[in-house]
Symmetry: C2
Subunit: 203 residues, 2 copies
């Protein structure tokens, strides 16, 4: 390692963004945190998913989703153009590799708000991605939050909790674990992770 190599590494890291995957059980406050993060980091933006489902009223192609037909979606998967994808209720959803790469090369941070299965697909194809798992301070607290937001039936809450327990089995593939006991502190945690990641010495 000589001076020139070091200077090159530094220059490179200054100009390069990062792909940040944030996953969490529903009720952990992930969506709020992601929006706060985007607001505070001018160079961060959400990834816009590609989907085969029909646009809903008010949804704009290229802003809310990139809408494609099923055949097109499957072709993209086959051609290796998706960083991760899943089928939910008969519709396909996924993240475009090109979308992410274009932004990273511009030095932007791309935030991927996806589930654990998606996160693991990303890590496999893109090992430099930073995988952050957000947890509530306890499962008791998670239950209370789900109840208090009065969005789901008790059956739905049970299902969500069961999913959360299952998701935790994949936790060991994640790089960081953030406890959302307090939104301000959890946001500071995520910002510290992103800042520190850039400073890592690449071996």
């Amino acid at each position: 390692m000589n001076e020139k190599n070091i200077i090159n590494q530094i220059k490179e890291r200054e100009n390069k963004g990062a792909l940040i995957v944030i996953s969490a059980p529903s009720g952990a406050g992930k969506t709020t945190l992601c929006h706060m993060l985007i607001k505070e980091l001018p160079s961060a933006e959400f990834s816009i998913s590609v989907t085969s489902r029909q646009p809903r009223a008010g949804e704009v192609d290229g802003r809310d989703y990139v809408f494609v037909n099923e055949e097109d979606f499957k072709k993209r998967v086959k051609e290796g153009r998706m960083l991760e994808w899943a089928q939910v209720h008969g519709n396909y959803y996924g993240t475009s590799k090109k979308f992410v790469e274009t932004r990273l090369n511009k030095g932007l941070y791309v935030i991927l708000d996806i589930d654990v299965q998606g996160g693991l697909q990303v890590k496999e194809k893109f090992p430099e991605a930073i995988l952050i798992f957000v947890l509530p301070p306890s499962m008791e607290e998670l239950k209370n939050r789900l109840k208090n937001r009065k969005q789901d039936s008790s059956g739905e809450i049970k299902k969500r909790l069961k999913n959360s327990y299952e998701e935790m089995n994949y936790l060991s593939k994640y790089d960081y674990l953030v406890i959302n006991d307090n939104l301000t502190e959890a946001l500071k945690d995520i910002k510290a992770i992103i800042r520190a990641d850039k400073l890592k010495y690449k071996k």
Copy 2:
């Protein structure tokens, strides 16, 4: 991985400090940065080195150094009680393992302001240590800083620069690389590294 394991890991990390090694070529601003860090992080403190050299006027045993005789020092090394040590101008200097461990178990951060050779010894015995290398924005800048502080003769400056180049060969063993272009930003970098390290998911 189940809920209980995760909760245990979180509790453990809350209660545990970290050993932070900060190394840099002289003139990179390391000492200033370390003092700023100690000031801003109430739970951080410097490690107090053990030395076989004679106390100088005004130096207090246990505050500036732990002063021991040469025989005692060698005995400590032999018994594996030193985390790192070196002989400089005929005197021995080193870091006590017990000193560090006692503080880490109290949840404190211990800052080790040592050279690269010492840093590598620490990493070998204590892989969880966070090794940070601080660099000036360029070697040209380093030369200017050394000249401007008017502390060293031109021969001494040449020697220091040569040492700096040599130290860089060991850089690849370090975890993080911080560029001290601006003290405030470099301090923020180091604080982010310490904060993020705690959030790492221990596999």
